[in-house]
Symmetry: C2
Amino acid sequence: MHNQLPKHVKIVEVGPRDGLQNEKEAVSAAVKIELVDRLSRAGFTNIEAASFVSPKWVPQMATSAEVMAGIARRPGTLYSALTPNMQGFEAALAAQADEVVIFGSASEAFSQRNINCSIAESIARFEPVAKAAKDNGLRLRGSISCAFGCPYQGDVPLDAVADVVGRMRDLGCDEIDIADTIGVSTPRKTQAVMETAARAFALDRISGHFHDTYGQALANIYASLELGVTIFHSSVSGLGGCPYAKGATGNVATEDVVYMLNGLGIETGIALDIVVEAGAFISQHLGRKGASRAGNALLAKRTL
Amino acid sequence: MHNQLPKHVKIVEVGPRDGLQNEKEAVSAAVKIELVDRLSRAGFTNIEAASFVSPKWVPQMATSAEVMAGIARRPGTLYSALTPNMQGFEAALAAQADEVVIFGSASEAFSQRNINCSIAESIARFEPVAKAAKDNGLRLRGSISCAFGCPYQGDVPLDAVADVVGRMRDLGCDEIDIADTIGVSTPRKTQAVMETAARAFALDRISGHFHDTYGQALANIYASLELGVTIFHSSVSGLGGCPYAKGATGNVATEDVVYMLNGLGIETGIALDIVVEAGAFISQHLGRKGASRAGNALLAKRTL
């Protein structure tokens, strides 16, 4: 009746990049550096810290080189950067990123609407980046958006997920993210998608990236753990809104995920109290209440 | 690998009582009546609508008789009332409650701190209420707080849960709630507690009452579904804070639960869109943003 759960899980902290990129308020490089350093001290072995994309398109990420130059690198922690093209790759290499992230969608409609080309074309364009990553000894991660549903086309077929996972694998990705970009999945759907991905790529190198837009993220993570998924993305204090539903929640909060994993007896190597402090720090800078329920409850308990 | 999930789940909507009792702002009887009627129209078959307790102790519930007299009873819906003693029972009977609710704690420390007597004594005191309920053909529900953890003693032994479930059963309860009053449980702990309860009482008459204080409620509900639990409590728009951590979240939001059950293909008979409207209605009266993530996302989508 009870499936065995993994003994160890890796959490990829995406708050400094995916989170802050989707917040209304931009924060300074100094604040980002402080945030990344606090997260490093909390024990994360992988932090998504930068995106080397045109500041014309993503002004929040314009200080990525400055951030990467300013952080105190913790031995054992990989600092990742998004690289949309070779120009971004060269910048990531210069900034000494440990891992570069390429991305595509499992939704044909999303791909067409966002980058005006098919999924297959969008992935093929990353070939030079993937080759350069290998040539330079950098880790390569592939991120697949809208794998559980799309704001434009609604349902996304499992075959489309399998196809794009295969394309990312063939590019040489070391790790592949299966993302619920709009947070619409529920546990059994999650298991079906993750099982599909695991038929095309090694289960222990697949990560789950769940948004909490409909409050489902932890249930989806738990359902993924039951299948043996051991890598999850989360964002300190739930940084990052949902661009497709203004005012709604985005990334699942790291504090909530770590709280659950601690309760399940799954080792993460992460000090929850330091994450809670980091969440309070960045929420204060953004002038808003943190979006982590566990974080808010733990902070409230201190003031009793 | 995949356990079979139940085909049908009953949701007990506790917002009008458990929820509003724990909100800072009191609302008028007229607003409560409108809320209950909206929830009836949404299709709930069980709504916790009143508490016949001294208004000295719980001023928010002082209008319970007025609320029960003013609501439009939907055929097929049971309206429940808390009855701490025979005086409360007589009031509930006069108000034509369909079900009366008695309560105790699985935590000895909680029982001592809150009502100055042992768990065993506190349950024994309900004997006349239980007998009167049976004599008058009313349904009897027993609610067990702190079954997963206690704000005073921390851990609560499984034996203590089994013991109080047995006492509630022996009083003749038709249904027994296992409540995570402070929202500290995680999925495997939840399964251990629910399995313990199910050894002392019929599984199909056990309900899970989960608070979302640490964001764990949906994961706990999903883990309970895997065991075959078919009754859950929830509160529209997440009404009800956590009295043990100011500013933290309390009851799990009904909208989030229904969204998950819909996604899992589990029938509830509840119209999610009407629940979302009811949540917007009461949140507006309380002058705060709703605490349901699914509710907020669905409302935000409408304004796109």
